[in-house]
Amino acid sequence: MKMETRKMKVTVARFNPAMDSSPHYQTYEVPLEPRMTVMDVLDYIYENLDPSIAYYSHASCHRRVCARCNVTVNGKAGLSCHTEVTGDITIDPLPRLKVIRDLVVEGL
């Protein structure tokens, strides 16, 4: 008997300063795995749902040290490599920083 995987709603702030006049939200459905991190969620979206999503990961340490993967999760700042997810979330870029695209900001 296969357990039904629980899905969660992930709402991500999207913004391409070269094209858009203002940010907008986009919502994805992502299967919730035990103890998955925000980075895992973003990887899932990138790999399976929407390759255009921008979040800093290519040179991040994945170890809570570099802090370049910092985002806002449900209104609170947190490292995406280390913040665990238990249900629906909204992901914004860190506030007050210039957005390069989506969740990638200048000055981190």
């Binding site: 300063p17 290519h58 570099c66 370049r68």
Partner: protein
């Protein structure tokens, strides 16, 4: 496409007519130290990072220690062991490296270790001295001390520039091309001399303790530009790295814990290390840094025979350790915190009697871009320092890679500066630029069916299955055929859907998968070529270490567009290795006797 057709150098802070004397790629410890040296030797210096200087590279997440000989330590004012000597340290590094080390590189390492250490202490590095051969510090500390020195000197830095290619003229390096990740524009930079300091290529594997930036992009660029690669079959795995939960994945904390206490268990809860080896080997494994090699092999055997954990690892447990012993150890890591990571949850979980899933992780590359003792590669004007270079540690590293980055970084900075004083700024060849630009941008407009992220997974699976802790000829041949087919048939069909230029992750993946595939092919072919086991390179079909035939290094170079392999004899200065042949356990016992541990 180049952001600055009117400004051929393209990099912020440099005008069109200027080129730098020394360009340093990579901003971990080796790159930082190379930039400091180049600046101090009088070179105009530019430091590039594919992330941000101070926030990328492997140094910041290192353990970390600096190793030097006890007498050298005494001479720089540490309460050292004067009966120790450079000669003895030199000897031990070669024994640990299974005789494969380039002895000229080892001589430079032991010679310069004390002066580089003293300098770090003078620059304010916080440390603990163990009284023998190790200075204990932290990666974040090393990183910030070096970065402070870079800032103090006003060295020009450029963040978020992913260097993809070296520009050459004749057989000399004359500049680089890179993708400015945030703008999505390609940039060229001219330089009289180029230093590569980009760490290893661990990200070719799915499971690694290394940070994201270590993709081997510059190994591949150096290879394509005509530089030789060396000993690419040599990969160290760190055992007992957290496999799950994801938030701690890749962390080496259980590896550090097992030096104090705890057991590795197979799926029935049985500790396997004691059964796997002769008791003397077990003692060595649990008390010396040979544990990386010995534990990784033992855990891999358990997984291969089907007795591993669901995610393909084994278990680490402290259930048999009395709680007061655990509490005693907590004094070393107060509150179970280490670096910026908090392990108290993990420790609570372990103290309740649970086990954490762990596995060997790709950890350190002994092989890399071939260098001599002046950090010169086989391409004029190109230098390499730190983990991206090959030869220093032979077939197994036990001594510190932090000492390596400090020593080799300084040497590379000096050599590059000396060369830049003789070299002229070269005009860039338009045809070469066009070819590179067209190659890099093709996936953006190509109508293809292959996604880089899928290909990356496929390539990593090939590495996980065939270039892991234990290798064999059949698996390596299969890996080579698959990788060659990917290079010929799939990489040229990668297509990118994302239209936005700024932080285009698909584009980064497309660039990375191509270099990863090239580097893995070099590694797989080297591993097949070396028909013996030596150090971290273990072949189940050739289980013996054969000094009669294989006191040779494996060299990979591009000849007429094709990958070509050859060997060269090891570089000997003072230590003539015995012409012996031995099995794995015998080799460990031999080595430990020689080391007097």
């Amino acid at each position: 496409m180049y952001s600055s057709t009117t400004h051929p150098t393209g990099v912020a802070g440099l005008s069109a007519q200027e080129a730098v004397d020394v360009l340093v790629i990579g901003s971990g410890g080796a790159g930082l130290r190379a930039a400091i040296e180049a600046h101090d030797q009088g070179a105009s210096t530019l430091l590039l990072s594919n992330g941000a200087v101070g926030k990328s590279g492997a140094t910041m997440i290192a353990g970390a220690d600096i190793t030097l000989d006890g007498d050298g330590a005494a001479k720089i004012g540490l309460a050292g062991n004067e009966s120790d000597s450079k000669e003895s340290f030199f000897h031990d590094i070669i024994i640990q490296g299974y005789y494969l080390n380039n002895q000229k590189l080892v001589e430079a390492y032991v010679r310069d270790a004390p002066v580089r250490t003293k300098e770090m202490i003078d620059w304010g590095m916080k440390y603990l001295w163990d009284g023998k051969r190790a200075i204990l510090t932290e990666g974040t500390e090393l990183n910030s001390v070096l970065f402070e020195q870079v800032k103090k000197r006003g060295i020009t830095i450029k963040n978020d520039l992913y260097v993809t290619d070296l520009l050459t003229q004749g057989k000399s390096a004359v500049g680089v091309v890179g993708l400015d990740i945030n703008s999505g524009m390609l940039q060229t930079t001219r330089a009289k001399a180029v230093v590569i300091a980009t760490g290893g290529w661990q990200r070719a594997y799915s499971f690694t303790s290394a940070p994201g930036g270590l993709t081997g992009a510059l190994h591949a660029a150096a290879y394509r530009a005509g530089a030789d690669l060396l000993n690419m079959e040599m990969v160290t795995f760190c055992p007992n790295v957290v496999l799950w939960p994801p938030a701690l994945r890749g962390d080496i904390f259980p590896y550090i814990l097992i030096e104090m206490f705890g057991d590795l268990l197979e799926k029935h809860g049985r500790p396997f290390l004691r059964d796997e080896y002769d008791p003397s080997i077990y003692r060595i494994a649990s008390t010396t840094e040979w544990n990386k090699l010995i534990f990784s092999l033992a855990a891999t055997k358990v997984v291969l025979r089907g007795d591993g954990s669901p995610r393909g690892g084994t278990y680490y447990s402290i259930k048999n350790v009395p709680l007061n012993i655990v509490e005693e150890a907590e004094k070393i890591y107060p509150g179970w915190k280490w670096l910026r990571t908090d392990f108290s949850n993990l420790m609570d979980w372990l103290k309740e009697g649970n086990a954490v899933e762990v596995a060997p992780a790709a950890h350190y590359m002994e092989g890399g871009i071939m260098v001599d003792e002046s950090a010169s590669t086989t391409l004029k004007g190109l230098y390499a320092a730190g983990e991206c270079s090959g030869g220093l540690f032979g077939a197994n590293r036990v001594a510190s890679a932090i000492t390596q980055i400090l020593v080799q970084g300084a040497i590379a900075g000096k050599s590059a500066t000396d060369y830049s004083k003789r070299a002229k700024v070269q005009e860039l060849e338009k045809r070469q630029l066009k070819r590179i630009e067209s190659h890099l941008t093709k996936p953006l407009t190509r109508q293809g069916s292959i996604r880089a992220v899928d290909l990356k997974k496929k390539v990593r699976r090939i590495a996980d299955e065939n270039l892991w802790v234990i290798r064999n000829g059949a698996g390596l041949k299969k890996a080579i055929a698959e990788l060659e087919s990917i290079i010929a048939n799939e990489v040229p069909r990668i297509s990118i859907q994302t239209q936005a230029r700024a932080y285009n992750k698909e584009w980064i993946d497309a660039i990375e998968v191509e270099s990863l595939t090239q580097i893995l092919l070099a590694s797989a072919r080297s591993a097949l070529f070396r028909t013996e086991s030596r150090g971290v390179h273990n072949r189940s079909d050739y289980p013996h270490t054969d000094n009669g035939r294989w006191l040779r290094e494996v060299v990979v170079r591009q000849v007429n567009g094709k990958m070509s392999l050859s060997t060269r004899p090891i570089t000997i200065t003072k230590f003539k290795p015995p012409r012996v042949r031995f099995g794995f356990e015998e080799g460990i016992i031999r080595a430990v006797k020689e080391l007097g541990e």
